[in-house]
Symmetry: D2
Subunit: 380 residues, 4 copies
């Protein structure tokens, strides 16, 4: 790369969990500088964050409209290359559309938008502009998740028969779950679903990402266990895939005592894999005719093509930020190639993944609301 890639940020003010993760991930490999931001709707908070980041006052903006306008006016050698959107779901669409309209690439938190309709429009706009769009489905960037994908799509498990994803968190078990919870459980900010949008989409994405299959039908049972909450805090979904494979997604945010228990198992005709986010460097592989093997990140057995997504020797734990950073670094390289007019085949989730995620949310909700067992998920 000729120079560092320059990132602006909308959202991620003081106290926001995921904003700090984005910045740490962007910094980790030294390819990206955060150069500007509209970190909060509260100017004082936004300034405070800019101060923490040692940004000049001039690059701390009151809102994203102002930011895009001002950055666009800066010399090419200074202005930001892309914007990271880390705001509540309701505003993803407007921010992303305006970023694209002003010529900026976009990295967006999931779910992509507030509605499927918005997602389709946004994808259309991405395609028209030729700009890059990256969706932060970070779990797909763990090396051992990618190894799982290689095993499944490379046929090493035989025909895939069953996929089971579990995603349990305890953080919403009690009514008062803190500031982060407020917008996530408020349909005005979060969208049609809370639990399914927040974690169910991660599960659905990983199920499709690892297997290369597509969900075609869902049968959903959503629940709201905490009184007064307006959206789902739990969901169970039966799945059918385009190959005939079956599946289950269990998503629960009132799972008292669970930290971030995201696991996936894939059973094929001749073997199976199991991965668990809380031990992300292990990939368990089982077969009826072999001893159980635990493939480890950066150890013998990992496909050499994955070395590019690893930083440390095996046994030196990499974690959540490294997965996130893989998305950022991939996106930075794609932007660099885009600038230079060079070919680059990125691995990060994109606008298509975003559209599928929104379709999943809306299909699950539709299924939940009717008495028919199966609800088809339209191809998209």
């Amino acid at each position: 790369m000729q120079r560092k890639i320059r990132m602006g940020m909308v959202g991620g003010g003081p106290g926001a969990f995921i904003g700090g993760v984005h910045r740490a991930a962007a910094r980790l490999d030294g390819l990206i500088d955060v150069v500007c931001g509209a970190f909060s709707q509260d100017p004082a908070k936004s300034k405070a964050m800019a101060g923490e980041l040692f940004l000049p006052e001039s690059r701390c903006y009151a809102n994203y409209e102002e930011m895009f306008k001002a950055e666009k006016a800066l010399p090419a050698g200074e202005r930001m290359d892309f914007v990271t959107i880390a705001t509540p779901n309701v505003s993803h669409f407007a921010i992303a559309m305006q970023a694209l309209d002003n010529g900026f690439h976009v990295l967006c938190e999931k779910p992509m938008t507030y509605t499927l309709d918005e997602a389709l429009k946004l994808r259309q706009r991405v395609r028209e502009t030729g700009l890059l769009f990256c969706l932060m489905h970070n779990y797909s960037a763990y090396p051992m998740v990618r190894q799982a994908r290689l095993f499944c799509t490379g046929g090493e498990l035989g025909t895939i028969r069953k996929i089971v994803a579990q995603y349990d968190l305890g953080w919403l078990a009690a009514p008062n779950a803190g500031k982060q919870a407020l917008w996530r459980c408020d349909p005005r900010y979060s969208g049609a679903c809370a639990c399914i949008g927040d974690i169910g989409t991660h599960a659905a994405h990983l199920a499709e990402y690892i297997t290369g299959l597509e969900i075609t039908h869902v049968c959903a049972d959503l629940a709201t266990f905490v009184e007064g909450r307006k959206l789902d805090d739990d969901g169970s979904v039966l799945l059918r895939f385009n190959s005939g494979a079956r599946g289950i997604i269990e998503a629960c945010e009132v799972a008292s005592g669970e930290e971030n228990q995201f696991k996936i198992r894939v059973y094929g005709e001749t073997g199976s894999i199991e991965w668990s986010q809380m031990e992300p460097e292990n990939l368990i592989r089982r077969a009826n005719d072999e001893p159980m093997r635990i493939y480890r990140r950066s150890w013998a057995g990992m496909d050499p093509s994955l070395n590019v997504w690893c930083r440390l020797p095996a046994g030196h734990p990499e974690g959540f930020i490294e997965g996130f950073a893989n998305i950022y670094t991939d996106f930075a390289r794609a932007i660099d190639a885009h600038r230079a007019g060079k070919d680059y085949t990125p691995s990060y989730p994109n606008e298509d993944d975003g559209v599928r995620g929104m379709a999943f949310i809306e299909t699950v909700l539709k299924s939940h609301q009717n008495d028919q067992k199966w609800t088809p998920m339209a191809p998209c």
Copy 2:
């Protein structure tokens, strides 16, 4: 106890997996003697087994009818007290009915019968005779499963919200899975369902046993992955319970590479538990406001009432046979008390559990066969 309890056996000939487990479990605590049997429909095999057991030839019978008749004719000090039925499901009913008619207590493999209708009739007969009936839902006899029940029913997790049971085996992944598989996948011997009858009933039983709740509705998706197989080898079931709790049962016998992966998690308002059959001496307990605790069999934290189901100090692994043996020993004590006309409150699963299991199988099948999301499970 005044004397050892005497056991006869139908089924469990050479090569039968579960027959040997029954005998080892019956022997373990030294309270039961196997005194007779009709071990196989093949007289040579039956004799071979009797020889292995050092039984006199006179106590090796050609069939169960002959056995019940001959044993009944023996002096009270010699004849068997109860019969263990370890045959394919199709014959459970006839054998059990005849045993009861001849005055013998019955210990029966699960599922209880071939149909729900049979189960209801058998329960009726048990009640009429006043004899004892024990159903071998062995997993409910692990001490840490009973500890889980104490936590759940004692209110230590708050209101139960979600129950997730996973039961995965790889043994039927390939078409030719050996002799044991033949009858289990043959509707003439096994009944309406294979996978759901074989392992789904274990999951359903444990979900109800641990929580004290009852399943009221199911939504099932069964599959037969191996071509030519006539019954389900996989099933996914959404559950609703009488308290409003939700649940999932995942049952799969084509889960390549899985040995006997039976796990259950229960999430309550203020805490949760997780138990895994392959590490049966651990009971994980989680809460949002406590460090994770792993309760261990016979260690501090286990309820003292459970000591009676433990044989060894903590750290000296007990396993599958010990769980089985807890059922046998409990049944032997109940028979002893029955003989003496004393009170005894047994813990083993009984005819009511058997009826519920059969109702579960038939409701799941009915759900699978229709397009409506929820199928009610009749109270029974």
Copy 3:
């Protein structure tokens, strides 16, 4: 086998932990009957135990001398075949010698005797009589320990370089550790060492058993952490083996919170294995050029020759009693062959293992008591 093998017992009265394990293990496979015993020096206790075992009063003896005499006088078709010695160490020698003198085979708890000198004499007597002697080093009978031995002695790890055994128990952490602790910490009953005799010998035996190597030198540091205790409750020992391999034994009975944490790792030139008693069905195998493999009891990868030591399919946990029972069943088969004058190659630990254990104890103590780094262990 023509008939069941008949066992008598010295020790193992009410409240004795290991006595009950011996009986359960002897019963498990249905090859052995407990026919008589001198279970306690207290006649009431001995009778109580005989009652629990449903033994006739005539077979409950006041002491072992009486038992050997009376049993010897019984007809061949009734009298016991072997005696199990489950008394404090101090009396092993006298009981075993007298059993041999009366023509009975002997199964003895470890350590074999009170002193090395006794052990050498006892071995000599075993050889002279041609009777069978079995030492209860039960851990060597776990199938996956035997698999470890196959890997090591079969050269699959290359030249063995390092062996590390850890054995930690918390039960003696406090001064008052119950009745079981009393004799074990009393030099009059236990011998020269407590911790080293009780668990250090297990570690030393397994290190030699798995690798096929012999300890030649030790460097020991023993400690007594609980005030007033007269023997060691902790020991750390550096080892050298006859091949040049190095090793460590860590043995601690004041390891607060540990249940029965016995682990062993063996590192060879090209691979390594790790086994842990509390998860006895796993054998971890590592290599620099392979993914980690977990070999499981009765699953693919286990040597077929070990099937004879397994009772259940993989995933149905076997534990401590099954390991114990492997020793008993092997011994019963050896006795049966001895009676019939047939060849039989047993796998159980014998008088040679017993002598090495006593030599280990005495060498460790000698090492502890002098300032020289290395103390040689005489070949024996």
Copy 4:
């Protein structure tokens, strides 16, 4: 902080494992900029690294002497604040001394120097200059290691009795272990010991750090298993501590199949802890009278004072780089406070830890070379 802290680097050229970790860790929290370096003795490699870091050519130096001179001459607003030394051990002393002489703070890889004598001189020079010296004992910066220290030094385990540290790596199992191995096994670059210096010092440091105790005597057995290697590739060390506690360090770099298996257990009178580097977010706590607890980073039970060393909610894995980054961020804050003349109490390991590490190495070697059991470690 008023501004970012500026870091220079000696060593860490292309292909060096640990250099990249230093840079990633320095970047992670956004408090430090790498502004210059002498990355390699090969100018082309040094330039290549400077290019990867987007440094201006003027800040890429031919060697450290030139770097210190040139940086010192820069305006205060540009010149580096501290130097990170990531070269082979032999040059630590000279570089560090010259850095101090030129007024730069120093962050140094461990072991501190080539000899104890150098370490003592360097510590003396640090004290004279009043500059800051940080030693990269990164493992002490994992939050759960610090929690372990709080438990031990806060008396929650009672009097500490035994400390066992295991550090196993397989990377040197074969003769040809790559470039990284060359200097580490060469006494001209590495010092008196290889394995003991490389990983034994980590184990010794953590044992003292967690317990607050000091090693007073060692009894060591070193080995060189790979033919032709000039230094130890394995070591076993018995320990005695100033409190009377006992200990063991097992350090092995030919442990085939091990990645970076660093574990430590501490047993106290009333409880114990276990921590494993490959699962760094768990801290196991055991007691005889409590169920096992697993304390988790950022979950209930972790001391709130440790939040400052955590970035993510529990269940979002943090790893090796985060631990490293805790040292860097602490050091950056200390430098900032030093500049501002403010008080700051750092937590990072310093010149005293460095001296103790070198004393440990030399004492272990001395012990290995003589026949006396115990070799005292001089207070320092």
